[in-house]
Symmetry: D2
Subunit: 347 residues, 4 copies
């Protein structure tokens, strides 16, 4: 059995990692840590995790996290680097925060306003790379993993097939994505109260300032083999979970609908969790709720010369905790889908 | 492997049975049947069930359903009796409809307006019986099972401990329960449109006319050892899943809060799926979403002489499909929790 | 024009008072005050109130509130007594908090744990009183008004006709009510985050401890002419607004359905805002959203000897701000419905 | 008083027109008609419209609709032309359907697949026209009005300032818009059941096939003074009402944020219902619920050379019924805002 500790267990991401680990056949749940919630039972924060309800949260520290095979960090940005350094190279550290996702230090500094902490293997295994191969290869045997952001997961997987196949232009991607409100985390804020968000859609981080923007561009560039420029607008939707990303790119002249369809189907034909739906059916976030699946569909709008690809993911699963588990499975040589499901909870 | 056929696979109950069976280690999914949807792929109706998306629904008939170890019937009321007769006694038939739940033929006829089809073992294993024992015993080795209704599951488990312990009076139970809208099924109705139900609460079947009323009374009577009379009011809540049942009964004079707490805790201490929460925490339907768990809490209102017990269940899992799977596990001698989880999907 | 100041303008209740006053033909909006939000524009807190978006909130004090014809206090409990004393007797003070609702000082102290601040006329004009008459009479010319609580408004109006007509027993009322989450106010709390409340029902204040309990009993007692004992259980529903109260009482022996129907219809036949629906139609909270209307329906469950009455109100309108406006209209001799609507916002 | 008949009164659009007319000081509600609901009381379909609950719906015919000053048609596409012809030129006919919105017969036939019925004045008064002036001028004294579609209203008003000011390029507009489910109308469909839509986002009409696409292009072209090409993707959001349109266009080289801000503010400075929010605040659909207001915000993403404008409208008010009322006010010379409010219902 692999012993896994989870830091930040009282937040949405940490609790979701635990939900998945409870169903993982090869994993034993080790230490659970928190910041301000240390000393309280997990059941007070996550009563849905019945088997762990009486486990008391410990303070987050290298001492508490040491001695595990895997440490999953579900902490605010800026915490993972120092902690990982203390944990040593033999421990697999899976970071759900943004710190180690970007390869471009300048982009990091421009969007996050702090020094770059270095780059870890980016745990989006299904990403097709320019020139062939998958991002999966970079994860095998790794001892550090950067879990992709929830929006970038959806946006990158949505358009990567067209980029990798050379059907899409790289310089004018436009993405508008809707996220469930768990994406904003579990901190108490007036703007995130149920009474404020139910029945309402609203955008935020508009105009190219959202921090996931360079990550979307980085992922698509890996598929395109050239720099990508994207307009990214996130919106908040009145649902607890789920991301629906609508991503468009201009197509190369002469691109046909058949080419588009083939590129998307081929890209993910061997992937267990990324599913291009049959023609005529479009993704719904509900269909991937609680699952690690990505539902995808694509259409060519010949009139305007753009391809429109739509991806649905569960922001807390494939967008966070599922990616962490899938990544640790690959890194450790476990079956890639262990503890994960491709079946969503609908209706 | 146990081969299981599901009749009514395109409805909410049938699809939920399939969701659970896909995760059941001892089950192979056999024939899937439907009425008007026969001939179409399951993925058109239940795209969240990815591994079965391409399976084509067959017409519901004894021929198609024959040759399985288990047949789960998720059909409208009135269909299961004739079908079961054709299937033979060696097949385990699990009926998710109401037809075989009630022992009292007169109550059946009064509430359903049709001839009584006979009584099958009632698949609510955790129900404590007057004089000791559990309803579970009646399910071992059974070849016919009646799955309890969703409301009765929540209402009965909520108050049964007080009835079995002799702390509650049987003649003036009052229950008000809120259900997610999947409880109304998957038929197209204007009153169940999203635009109608979102943001709205409303009652229905008020004044003792809802068909689950005699079933609630029957379950509680089994615990009390005497007839129970209940006022039952169901309401529709703006959520897709979940039942929250608030059940009250007058207490015997002199009943103390400690007695109440002990009765509820003792009743379910050995039950894997029924959980009395720590004092001060109250059930939320979200915490049992997708799970077979029941979250319970109870309080004594000494001022008015009533106990108030609240139960949360997922109407489609413990309230339907989970009960079916739990029942077939018991009947066939499989581990009772196989294919079931006590962990909900929150937030 | 009547000049009205609103204290607590950045909260849900205060903003809703302003929403109504903006449509009131005889009112001019005066000072707007807040506590921690003082110094900020109202548009930052209530962007839906476009015509007042640039108005800057002032600190709540008697100096700022002085010089108006009416002062509406939408403040936390405990603040209104001292402020009102400073404002003088010629100002109409409408208190949306609980401080002055209860006539029974012992009940106040038992449920609120602080000294009783005295009793003001209770602004539930439609309440039929034992022995004839309406609560409306107590409001004419008043210079102090206590706005009823949201739950008590729905619960009291639901059952009062049966109490006033002598059809219901007073000693075993049972009420279960569901409220939209705006009822919890606009303070930032983890438990009230959208991700926590969407898709979930949960109870709170169970076992007779919710502070609205003695107020429900007081209102029903006024109709019954004798003390009333009620079990009251509030629940939180996944919607921003609305209360659905399901209230039951045992009926006197021999009570008929026709008597019940007549009692309820007669009680509110002349009321513009309280509407008993045609037989067979049940209230939905959505139908009263944004309106001052109460939708009611009632049924006699002869089998168990209980009447079940269900009321839907908008907790922020008839349950708070609408009652404040209706009350000030009556007190000042304006048309009772000025600034109020009986038309809800559906779907 | 102006007598107004409403055809299609049992649908969402028709009922919303009635909700507004009930608050219109110069209007008397005349005949109410329906198709399959003829003969039933309006209260059965729209219980929130209390004052009209007992009005019986008549069959839709020119005979019933004749003799009114205004007839509002809230009917399926294809019905309004013949009816209007029978009603005569002296009656003001306001058509909420698409039939008479498009000037380009070829575009009509391509997207609707039926012969073009002719073009009526397009009731989007705030639209700034290339070369100066507003669309309002075309409505004064009109006897035929085409109510804009809900999506086109939001999309067109969002980007029109940049088009009219020459800051935006016309050939690569990208719009992604989210709509509440009332936009799908009141017909019973499985895909629109509450259990299906709650908690879910999904797209439809992807790839440039949605019928509102040419209307968006037509509106923006009127502002730009040249043809506009737009990629338009509609999505369904889990809320009953509201549209949030995120619209982007490439900017002319050298465009500055100050120019963008000035263009948007100037465009709507004199408009009562279109409001550019203060910098840093973004629209929420909830803030315009039930109101005729449009909340707008805009940002320049200099890195990618695109302007991103976001508009929130209530699809049933400014997107349908409010536009109808505003249009009839202008056509008849009544105050433009009579019966309309700029105040939304939040939370």
């Amino acid at each position: 059995m692999v012993r896994v500790a989870v830091a930040g267990a009282s937040g949405y991401a940490g609790a979701e990692v635990l939900r998945l680990l409870l169903g993982h056949p090869d994993v034993e749940v080790g230490a659970l840590t928190a910041a301000s919630s240390a000393g309280t039972p997990l059941g007070q924060h996550a009563p849905h995790l019945l088997p762990l309800a009486d486990r008391v949260l410990e303070p987050t520290s290298a001492e508490v996290l040491a001695g595990h095979d895997v440490v999953v960090l579900a902490l605010p940005h800026g915490s993972s680097g120092p902690l990982a350094a203390e944990l040593g190279d033999e421990v697999l550290v899976v970071d759900a925060a943004a710190d180690h996702r970007l390869a471009d230090a300048a982009a990091w500094e421009a969007f996050y306003g702090s020094p770059h902490a270095g780059t870890w293997p980016y745990a989006l295994p299904e990403l097709p790379l320019a020139g062939g191969g998958r991002q999966r290869d970079a994860l095998v045997g790794a001892r550090r993993l950067a879990v992709p952001g929830c929006y970038p997961t959806a946006c990158t997987l949505a358009l990567a097939p067209g980029m990798a196949a050379g059907l899409c232009e790289a310089d004018d991607v436009v993405v508008v994505a809707a996220s469930g409100t768990s994406g904003a985390g579990r901190a108490a804020k007036v703007t995130m109260l149920g009474a404020e968000v139910m029945g309402s859609m609203s955008p935020y981080g508009v105009g190219g300032v959202h921090r996931h923007t360079p990550e979307v561009e980085q992922g698509l560039a890996a598929a395109a083999g050239e720099p990508v420029r994207a307009s990214f607008t996130p919106t908040l939707a009145p649902m607890p979970r789920g991301i629906l990303a609508t991503a468009t790119a201009r197509t190369q002249p002469g691109t046909t609908a058949a080419q588009v369809r083939a590129a998307w189907q081929d890209a993910y034909a061997d992937e267990a969790f990324v599913h291009v739906l049959p023609e005529g059916r479009w993704p719904r976030t509900k269909d991937v709720a609680g699952s690690n699946a990505v539902h995808l569909q694509v259409a060519l709008d010949e009139r305007v010369g753009r391809v429109v690809a739509v991806a649905a993911v569960d922001n807390l699963v494939k967008g966070t905790a599922g990616a962490a588990v899938q990544g640790l499975n690959i890194a450790l040589g476990l079956p890639e889908g262990a503890g994960l499901s491709a079946v969503g909870l609908a209706p």
